[in-house]
Structures are given as structure tokens and as C-alpha cells.
Subunit: 345 residues, 4 copies
């Protein structure tokens, strides 16, 4: 049996979550996220974000959260600016387009886009005499960490924030792996920064300890209005909504979210360091739980005997970039064995 | 603390499901429902349906399942025929319309529509010289049990099946409470009948023992094609898809699904019988886990002290129709107390 | 060869329009409605409406105008209240739903809905505890004249306006046959009233003298914003936009629009009076260019020899309601013959 | 007053069309394109295409025709492959996305894409293990001539046809300027070729002699089914549909369409030759009615005194690529003056 490293949603939930699910299982509560667990979890998150006025909603998955926010924020003729590698552009089966909106892809720099790219795209739009024939940039979508495992700095996020303010469009952050970003080496952003600099962002649970679930934080008053209608219409309103509240209570009551994220990063760094020690080149400069080494076919075959990884990009006739992921659940013992296998390549 | 009877999704999951979730929690599996638990659960369901060629997909919730199937089945100018009381028509925030399709509501008879109503609607459409200006009937949606808690008979379902065949449109059944229908007194339909007479239907888990989850069964080959794209695009593809497989394994390995459904119905009948014994009129002729008595304001105030119920319909100046629900989780002791309270009205 | 009375778009355009089209044919102008003819026509319409700040756009057809306005005005989870007989509900192939919105049909009274019906629908929505599961009423659509040929009075329109203000939703009027309404006997509304009482309405050209074209008047500032994007995206932006401006210049330079509308009504009244003189019952109390007599099959067969009409509704085993239309183009001589034929029934 | 060369829809219609519009103006016909003019025009087009079984529909404009065909052809999770410069990708305000579909942009070669690009995109899609998370290529859109004024050869179109057959997806051609392509020097394609090699294409009228109107030719049986519903729903069904039939009758009765297209090309070549004689570089290798010279700011200022052109692309600090268009209506005398002005640069 292989040890799986190809993604970060291989196991169920952190034991603390499972325990809380068991303890609360026979409680009777109202449905649709209007129960006390959700209220409490939302309060915990508002506190963690230092955002007492934020609206917090719990949705089931990331694609769902993304298109629900985007569909709520845009007018019909507006599109969403994003890195060409952005998840909404390449890996959500056109969910944003299915809601009627074009994804306006920008070239990315290590998975990131800049405030100036946003300014440039908006300025070009409004300068074009035929702009009514062109999709209007209506919001900005970024991920933290990016698809490449890289991070925006506080200065970069501030610049994006300013660019969005200059053109009066919201800034939204997909935080599917938010925990791994916040606890990464070199990161200088906090949840409070996101709450202050973004109009909406979500704190991913599915990839960070939960069975499933994402906590959406909305700070922009206009976006808050009637948002629960959007969730219901788009299929994201869980009947037993408390399941989401319970999980985020467990994650945010005692800092579990950050603790398990740190664990994942630490394990990822062990893998990265083993690769670097072996002279392996990294495809992306990731500082988070996803690592993207460039390996030869022979090396991959060898590692593939006992470990799974994801194919990522074709590099040359003999080399591929692949992805190894760790998570809150990654066992140190498995990483020991992987590190050893790398050393023996 | 009140005893809650206002809906059938008040608690978590059946203990057998929770146990299986715990046991499998640290298994490493591939994501998105391509794991062995899902494969096994699908096989169990195909067997239960006597439909070896059916496609079985697991989605998170009912609204999501409904609009995903409907969006997959219809061409842009087609609509879906349904009872005016149908869930998609009244309680899903226009999710079907958000996918671009009109709900073509028909008057219902105790929550049901008939083959002849379908024939009539289709014949009228095609007879109209201006039919290209009118939404084309493209499929039929019914629920089993209906929103009123009533059931289609096998003869009625056959007639709907025939009507759909005559006009070459698919028949789809929303089985959010399928278990409560199949085990109801007087029911003459089986899962195998649904597999034979419908193009698609779902077996509800959320309201029948699971934390969440619906098992969609597709027998129509045309609808099967590329259906997983639809699920992903519409936000219904759970990253840790095995959570759905695991739950349906528990429900279908040893007949648990039917056993707990029978329990709910039995408790509902106790409530109904207590009401009838008291001379209370029932608003709908429900034979399933939802019961809709017509009670006076005074009676409601009295019962409301200790028991929750849902408002349903205004009857007259002094009377309201309300809903009491039971479920797999309803405790006999609570029903004892409710029955007693009814007797004391 | 039959004389056609079955609709009001049987011929081309009024000769004054054709002449202006010929005269301007070889002018070189910029496209997409940004030419001087459109600017001039818009100004004429603003003047006619006593609405110096209104935005005026010219679109090609009525269905297009309706769904473009509705899609621009509503958020994704909102629907549009309208009479069940409303054109958008029954005769536009689900164009509103194709834009993602439910049509919330209300029972009509002679084709009309009332302010109190709007209040009632909105109040019921907001009072429902589960309102997030229900489509939110987001605007009101009415037609003037209605599908039945009837008219709102000024008092009725004011009441609708007030109801909409109370619930902060826009009021939109489909004026496909606006001219025939404004010049009808008993009408007490003017274009200026519509500009004052509605958020948007259109003045129909297609059925009132033009080859095609509708003049949309928007008085609500929020709706004005970026509206040309909507027109382009929805396919309503004519490359040679001046064709629309030219036609509305002809219609509004010297009151032609009203003059030809009066002609149509006068001819319709002759037909109505002939029918009433014969003791024929009218299906709707229309005071405009559409008349809906209830005739026996024998009578219809007789009239059908030389005159076309539209089937409308089945009345009883021996009687049908049908529609006779007049228009700006209806020849007095044809009506003479029709009146004679009616007298001879 | 400037002489306008910035686009090819500056004037009204060819005099032969205007004359026919006048002659038929007071005819009474049925609406919505079911009249004899439309039937006759469709027959003329089927003959011109040597496609006796083709369905021919007349729509008002190009954007409308594009999104109506695309929405009719694709399932919800499918996208349309097209050159990144394709009109649907850059100049239709996201109309395709508003219908729910992603435009899958491919790098273009002089405005064109190749069969191998299509094969490559499809093969990559199906080879990807996660293809259900990615928009499925569902059809191919090209323009003839392209946005750059260039032409596909017969061999290239055959190759695209074959690539589409290999992946069982339809090939659709936007022929907004079809006439200018068919009559261009070096062109080896005919309408019959398009009918044989494409599933659908349209013959543009708006830019080639008509007031407005595009003739859509559908040869694929599956696409033909119920297409008029699509036209009505998407706002493209003209009430006085005969206006479209009449115009295409005029264009196709005696080869007028080709004759006036040849005229436009001849005038474009005169402009091109004058530019080349002056040593001006052309930005695209256009052989049709649009020419794209690279001119210095000084040259543009000089020409701009008397002639209009469109900005196209920024080349360097001192140079811009611009567009000069001719059309069926371009006066030889204007071109004489433009040629002289170019010579005097």
C-alpha cells in the first residue's frame, strides 16, 4: 500500500473535530446554519479576524464558495480578474462562466498578480472607446496561498487593495489553504489583515482539518446584503448546517487551525529540504504545504513505488514537475520514509 | 427545553454512520467520489434498485441534486413540469431558474400530478401554433413522498412513465424522503420500480439517517453521459467524496435505511392516531413521517409550550395547518409525551 | 386573398418612416446608436416624457427589451412580479428564466395587477421565516395596454408606484402597444406620467408604425448605470443603430406616433361597435386596438373566409374567443368590409 | 466633413434592398419569419450553398447569432474553442459567458487557428485525469474572414473539419464579412464548401449590403432541432421577420451579394497598394476589405484631417497599427482622395 502525498484532502477530519461531531450528534438544532454552533463559530472567526462587523457564512466546498461570492458581487456584464493559473480559471469546470461571468485571466508571476496588473487591465478597459463591447472588470480574485504554493506579502496585498479601491471593485481571496499560508515561513499576513484589506475571503476547512467546509468572511456591506439567498440558490446551504459550525468551533476554539497548519508546513519543509539537498530543482518557490520538484522519469518511477504524487507540468523530454502535498494529517513516519527515499535517489 | 418536531433534519447521523465515519477517518483515499467506499455504496444501491447498469452519483444536498439533474437534462428553451407545490417551485430560491429553466407548475392533487396532466400540458404545447414562443415541456419532476407527505401508487407512476415516454421527455423523482415513502403503510412501490419507471431519481440521505448526502440513480443513458462534469460545475463534488460513500454503505449494507424509515413512520402514525382520536382534522392525507393537523390557536399555544412544529397554511380565523415531523432519530419517549399532550388538549 | 386582422405587425413601416430611411440611407454615421439621429430621437422622447434626465436607449424588439431590463435590474435570487397573463410569463420562451430569474405570476384582473397584490406578495415573502428559500420579489412588470387590451388608470399606476416604493423595488412597464393605450378612449395617463411613476418603460415602435424598434426610457439612476453593456451583451445593440433613431425621429417629430395610434383605435372601435350591435359578447373589456369577441364556430367560419383573426381562448363547445387587431396600417376599406361582414352574420 | 473609413457599417442598405423594402412595404404577411419572403430567401441560400437540406434562419445581428448558435450547441459544462482574437472572446461583452459557457481561447496565427490546435486542445483535455474539473471543448468557432482580415484556405478548413469530426464536436463559422472573404483574391472557398465542411455558419448581411441581418445556415441535423425556440428566447426573432427575408432575397437573387463584395475588396486593394507603394508596413496580411497599416503618429495626424480610421494596436513609441475599411458602399471618389493623400504622406 502506497503512502499518499498527491493532495491534501486524503483523510477525514482532525480527531478533535470527529470527537465534537460525536458529542453533538444527537443534539436537536434548527437547520440551515441558524443554530448556536454556527453562531458561536462565526463569533470565533470574527474575533480571529478582528472584524466584529464581518458577516460569516459557512459553505460546503471551495468551488461553491467561489462562484457564490462572484455571482453575488458582479453585474451581468462584469468579469473577474484573476491569474491565468487561478483555480476558477482552470479547475472548476467553468463554474464562474456557468453563473454568466467571464474570467479575465492575467499572466501570473509565481501564481500571483499585482496591483499594477489590475490597474493596467482596468485602465485599458475604460480607455477603450468600445468598452461597452468588452467585459468590464468587476472584481479581483486571488488565492492565498496561490496554486503554486506561493504567498502574497502584506505590501503586495495592500497594493492590490489600493488598486481595487482606485477602480471601485471588490477584492476576494480564495483561502482554500489559508492555514498553510498564514503559518508559512516568511509570511507577514494575518487574518486581521485579510479582513481589513479584502471585501471577502474564505478560510478553508476542507484542506485544513475539517471533513468539509469553508468559512466565508464578508466585510463589504454591499456584499453582505441578502447573501443567504445566494447560498441557498447555489446549493451551498447545508440542511444540517450545524455540522459546519461544529467543525469551525473545533478549529478556532483553541488555535487548532494554526497548530495543524504549522505541522503540515513543517513536514513539507522536510520534504523540500531533502529534495534541495539532493540538488533537485523546485518548479515553484512554494513556502507552503505543496512542493513542486522537477524530477527525472527514473526518479519518479522510483519514488512512485511507495509514494503517490500529482503530475503538474511537463518540463523536458526527461523531466516532469510534480506535486507532493502534506496536510494536517500527514504522519511524520511517512515523511521520514519519503525523505529517506529521496536521499536514496 | 422543547422537544423538536418541526422538521426531519434536527440531529446528526445515525450512530452506525458515525461509527463508520470514525473507523475510516484516517484512511487515505483518492478524492471526488472515485474511492472504494463510493464504488461499494454505488454497487449496493444498484443492487437495491435491481439496476445493474444504473449510474449512481453521490451529491451533498437535495436542492443541488435537483438543479444539477434538471440543468443536465434540459435544452435551454425547455422547462420542467411539476406540481405547483413542488419543492423546486417554491422552496429552492429559484435555483432551477438560475440554471436558465422555467418551472412549469401544474395544479396538484394532494401534492401529486397525473400522467394525464402531463399529456395535457404537452399536447397543448405542441398544438399551439405559437409554440416556439412558449417554454417547451422538457421533463417531469415529482417527489416521493410529495411535499404533502402523500405517495404515488405504482399505477400512478406507471402512468406518468407512459406519459413521459409518449412525449419523449424524462421523468425525475426527488426522493429526499424516499425511505419514509418506501416503508409507508399502503405503499406499493420499490426502488426497483423507480429504477424501471424513471430516468433518474435520488434516494435521500440527509433526512433519512445521514449527516448529509443524496444518492442519485440515473438509468437513462443520455443523462449518464459526462454527468460528473455537471456535479463539479454546480458545486456538488465533495473533495472528500468518500464521506458520502461511507454513509450510504452504512445505510445500504444491512437494510438500515429501511429499518430507520419504518421507525419514523411508526412514530408519525402514533402522533396521527392521537390527533384523529381527538377528532383533529388532517390537512393532507399523509401516510408518511410528516403529519399536517389543523389545530386551533389555543391548541397550538398549548402544544407549543413543549413541542416545536412548522407553520404550514392558514385555514381560518381560528385555525392553522401545521406540520409535525418524525425521523430516524425521533425518540419514542418524546412521542409518548407528545401523544399525551395531544390527548390532554 | 384574405384581409389580415390577426395581429398588429403585418405590414412594414409608416410611409414617413420609409421616406426618412431612404433620405438618410447613404449618410455615413458612427455605429451602435451613438449617432446624431439617435441623440435627436432620444431628445424628442425626453421632451415627450417631460423627463430631461431620463436615459433613452433604442432596442430592436420587445422580448429583448424586457429581458435586458429585467436582467439589469435584478440580483440573482430575485424574481419579477407580473400578471399570469403577462407576456414575459407566457410568450417569450422563458427568456427571463434564461437570464436566471423566476417570473412570479399573480392572478390578473382583466390583464391587470394591483398595488395591493404587490404589497401582499412582498409582505408574504418577508413574513415567511424561510424567505431565504424563496425567490425574492425584486421588481414589478406590467404592460400598458395589457395583453387583454385593457388599461391601467392613473390612480392604479400611482398605487403600483407607491407599492413599489414601499418595498423599494422598481416598476417597469412593457409598452409594446403604448401608442394605442395613450390614445384610447377613457385613458388618463400620459408619457410624462409613466416617466414620473415608473423606473423604466418602453415606447413600442414595432407595433406602432416602425419597421422594428422600441424606445426604452429609464428614469431610475441605478438602472441607468452601464446599461449599454447590457444591451450589447444581450444582442440588442444594432450595428447601424441610427436605423432606430431615424424611425423614432419620424414618429416623434410631429406627433405621428399619436396620430397613427388614434387611427388604429378608431378602426378597432368600429369593429367592436359592429360586434356589440350584433349582440356579440366581448371576452375582455379592451378599449384599444385589440378586440376579443366571443363567436360561434359558424360565425368564425363565415368571417374566416375573408378575414384573418387569432384564436385566443376556448369558451364552450360552440364558442371561441378570438382576437381582431388593427394598427397604424389598417385600411379603412378593409374595416368597412369587416363591419359589413359582421352585420351580415 | 470627414470621409469615414473606420468601419464597414457606416451607411444604410444597398439601393436594391431599399427599393425592395419600399415595394413590399404595405404587403400583409405573417410574422416571425414564417412568410414567403423568408421562405424564398432561404431557398436562394440553400441553392447558393448547394445544401438542399440545410436549415436557414435569419437573425438580426452577429453577436446574437453567435451566442444563439453556441448556446444551442453546447451542454452546460462545454466551452467553445476559438482564436484569442476571436470576436466572441474580445468584443461581445461576454455574451457567450452570459449563456453559461467558457470561451477557450487559443493563440492565433494571423487570426486563424488550425486543426492541430483543436486536436491538441481536445487531446490534452481528455488525457487529463482531472478532466471533469476542466471545461470540456464542445465546439470550434472561427471567423471567415478573421478579425485580421485573413482567410482560411480550403485545406485549412478541411483540416479543421476533420479535427472536429475526430472529436465529435461541431465546427461553426462566423461569416459577418463572408462576402468579402468569398470574393477576395486568393480565396479558394465557396459557400458550398462551408455547407459541406461546417455544422453551421452565417452569411453576414449587416456588413455586406443589408440594413441588418445575418443568414444562419445549419447543416447538422442535431443542431437544427427546435432552433426557432432558441432564436425567440434569445431575442433574435424579429416580429416583422420578412424584413430579413426581403433583404436576403435582394442580395441572393442575382448575385448582388458577391458583386458588391468584390467592389469593396477592389477599393481595399487600391488603399493597400497605395500604402505599400509608400513603403508602409501592413500589420496583418489581410486580403479583404479591412486593411491594417502601421503608420507614424505624424502620418496618422495628416490622414486624420480628412479620413476616419480605427485604432487597432500600439506598435512602438512612434507607430500605431490602424484599420481602414471599405464596404459595398464605399465611393470610388473617396478612395481616390484617400489614395492621393497616402501618396502625399
Amino acid at each position: 500500500m502506497k503512502m499518499l502525498f498527491h493532495c491534501d484532502y486524503l483523510e477525514g477530519a482532525h480527531p478533535a473535530i470527529m470527537q465534537k461531531m460525536m458529542q453533538t450528534n444527537m443534539e436537536q438544532t434548527v437547520g440551515y446554519g441558524e443554530d448556536e454552533h454556527c453562531a458561536h463559530a462565526a463569533e470565533l472567526i470574527r474575533t480571529a479576524c478582528n472584524a466584529p462587523d464581518a458577516a460569516v457564512h459557512f459553505l460546503v466546498g471551495g468551488t461553491q464558495t467561489n462562484f457564490t461570492v462572484i455571482a453575488a458581487a458582479l453585474r451581468p456584464f462584469q468579469g473577474v480578474l484573476c491569474a491565468q493559473t487561478g483555480h476558477i480559471n482552470v479547475h472548476e469546470t467553468g463554474a464562474v462562466e456557468a453563473c454568466g461571468h467571464k474570467v479575465l485571466a492575467l499572466p501570473d508571476n509565481d501564481g500571483k498578480i499585482s496591483g499594477d496588473q489590475v490597474r493596467c487591465a482596468c485602465a485599458a478597459h475604460w480607455a477603450d472607446e468600445t468598452h461597452e463591447h468588452i467585459v468590464q472588470p468587476g472584481m479581483v480574485y486571488i488565492s492565498f496561498p496561490t496554486e503554486n504554493g506561493t504567498l502574497y506579502t502584506k505590501a503586495e496585498l495592500e497594493d492590490l487593495h489600493n488598486a481595487c479601491r482606485e477602480y471601485d471593485i471588490p477584492l476576494y481571496v480564495d483561502g482554500a489553504r489559508m492555514g498553510y499560508g498564514l503559518t508559512a515561513e516568511g509570511n507577514d499576513l494575518t487574518l486581521a489583515d485579510f479582513a481589513q484589506l479584502c471585501d471577502a475571503f474564505y478560510i478553508g476547512g476542507t484542506k485544513v482539518g475539517a471533513l468539509f467546509g469553508e468559512a466565508l468572511v464578508i466585510t463589504n456591506d454591499k456584499l453582505k446584503k441578502d447573501f443567504r439567498y445566494m447560498i441557498k440558490q447555489q446549493g451551498g446551504m447545508l440542511a444540517k448546517g450545524r455540522l459546519l459550525g461544529i467543525q469551525f468551533e473545533a478549529l478556532f476554539e483553541d488555535g487548532l487551525y494554526f497548530e495543524i497548519s504549522r505541522h503540515a508546513n513543517a513536514q513539507a519543509y522536510r520534504i523540500r529540504d531533502a529534495l534541495l539537498a539532493k540538488g533537485v530543482k523546485m518548479f515553484f518557490a512554494s513556502t507552503t504545504n505543496q512542493q513542486f520538484p522537477v524530477l527525472s522519469h527514473a526518479q519518479l518511477e522510483k519514488l512512485g513505488e511507495n509514494f503517490s504524487y500529482s503530475p503538474w507540468a511537463h518540463v523536458d523530454a526527461d523531466h516532469e514537475a510534480v506535486r507532493f502535498c502534506t496536510s494536517w494529517a500527514t504522519m511524520t513516519e511517512y515523511v521520514d520514509l519519503l525523505v529517506e527515499a529521496i536521499a536514496n535517489l
